[in-house]
Amino acid sequence: MSGPVSPAVPATAAPELGPVRRSRKRWGDRLLYGYTWLILLWLFAPIAVMIAFGFNDTKSKSNVSWQGFTFKWWGRLGDYPDLTTAVVNSITIALLATVVTTVLGTLMGIALGRYRFRGQAATNLVMFAAISSPELVMGASLLSLFISVGVQTGYATVVLAHVLFSVSFVAVTVRARVVGLDRSIEEAARDLGASTWITFWRVTFPMILPGVVSGALLAFALSIDDFVITQFTSGATITFPLWIYGAVRIGVPPQVNILGTLIFAVGVAIAVINSITARRRA
């Protein structure tokens, strides 16, 4: 292989290799580039189908083959009252779970990032277990508890379960932010006469806020999408994913596609805004 690396090569690129090799390298890069887009196309295929079939002029309840373009389902979004209820349940459960999760997770994240204390390793282990144990086992064990103790499953138990599976994610996100903090700024605030309380709210909290916000967004996203744990803990309460699952056998109406599209659009908007503001901050 030929000599030293030319200084013009960007830091991440592989070293320059002679003319013949370079053209082969280009080909390899092009191949990888095409491949990456092929996989992305695969990832987006069902989403394109979801969006498109919200405009399908289907005659029956089942919405499988394309029968022409229409806007009519957008005007008939409320045709299935139980579907509307399910969507409202999904959103309110996600909001409630997010608030509780964010408070609990932020406190945990601060404790884990700032202090060294007895039981820290155990806490980390339990959090790891919460993140890595299969949803099916979590759901089944929660239902075992509720049955044994005689608790009626429903809205409240779903919120409880959603807090359970997302709190560790928030704690980890906040901890990362706390660990990265410059402690001297807090010391400066204290030197200037601020109390512990004032220092926290006026100095520390604003600095960890980005971590708290992305933790909260993650908790909301995890909650609104969850199916498995929700199915085990919901009793008679129906959420959006549960409604779809129940409708698969009899046919999923176009309204589901439209609601899915709307949720997708809101999610994309939030993600894009979040990444733009994150870039601006950095």
Partner: protein
């Protein structure tokens, strides 16, 4: 004194939540798994460990099938994710974050809804197969739904980002100077890849395996929507025992067996590769 207490006060609410709703339910599930009875007359604790034997004997096929599907899906995910993660980490330059966002975007559509959309796409008279059948490229009775291919495909699809991201993180950390040094020492491009880049990225692959194999094996949504009666996984059985048959002891015994099998697998895997590294990679 107050400073000593502070971390405990902060950790208490969340820690209690995890303890009461993660650890305690496991104890109750263990108890339920050795009970006898039915939903009408109630269940009684008789320490009937034969529940486990019964469950294993009855559902051996589904256990083995779940492991097979999980393994196939995981290997497929590695094969599909690695080149993509490689390209994003080394070649995407300033666009890296855009590509990562694109990988994650499908997650903004409900997991169940994405799987249902695959059912539309792959339907016998759907927009993919019907044209191919009309032109005679495929026989009229060709189908993908209700086969193992559909289920493994769905699993791979749904968990692919969990493989792409850890591999990307590992590749991103590879110091370009190490790659340069390898070239300076007269390694070919292939040697640089197999002897330098690939070994350095393996922790990411291990983390990816951990994050895809476990949830794939426990999944029942893909098998329920895309598969048929011949493709049921152990998750479908557990779900049915709990929510349809109300045979809680059988469901609990199956869940525990599944979890034990997974834990043994994870520990063997972590032991072989160094516990610290695998756990750290997975949590990150």
């Amino acid at each position: 004194m107050r400073r000593r207490l502070a971390p405990y006060l902060l950790i208490l609410p969340g820690g209690l939540w995890l303890l009461v709703f993660l650890v305690v339910p496991m104890v109750f599930m263990a108890s339920v798994s050795t009970q006898e009875g039915d939903v009408v007359n109630g269940f009684a604790q008789t320490f009937r460990f034969a529940n486990y034997v019964d469950a294993l004997v009855r559902f051996k096929t589904q256990f083995l099938r779940s492991a097979g599907y999980g393994l196939a899906g995981t290997l497929l995910a590695i094969a599909l994710a690695y080149p993509m993660a490689y390209w994003i980490a080394f070649k995407a330059g300033a666009r890296k974050s855009t590509y990562l966002l694109l990988v994650l975007l499908p997650f903004f559509v409900s997991f169940v809804l994405r799987t249902v959309s695959w059912k539309f796409l792959l339907a016998d008279d759907g927009i993919l197969l019907q044209p191919l059948k009309d032109t005679g490229l495929l026989p009229a009775d060709f189908h993908v739904l209700q086969t193992a291919v559909a289920v493994v495909g769905g699993l791979t699809y749904n968990y692919l980002p969990f493989m792409v991201l850890p591999i990307y993180v590992a590749l991103e950390r590879v110091d370009p100077r190490v790659v340069e040094a390898s070239a300076d020492l007269y390694a070919t491009r292939r040697e640089t890849f197999t002897r330098v880049v690939l070994p350095l990225s393996l922790p990411g692959v291990f983390a990816g395996v951990l994050m895809t194999f476990v949830p794939m094996t426990a999944d029942y949504v893909n098998a329920a929507i895309l598969g048929g009666p011949a493709n049921t996984m152990i998750g479908n059985i557990i779900q049915t025992e709990y929510l349809v048959n109300n045979d809680y002891p059988a469901g609990a015994a199956l869940s525990f067996t599944l979890m034990a099998a997974m834990l043994i697998g994870i520990f063997a895997y972590a032991k072989a590769l160094g516990t610290e590294n695998v756990l750290e990679a997975a949590v990150r």
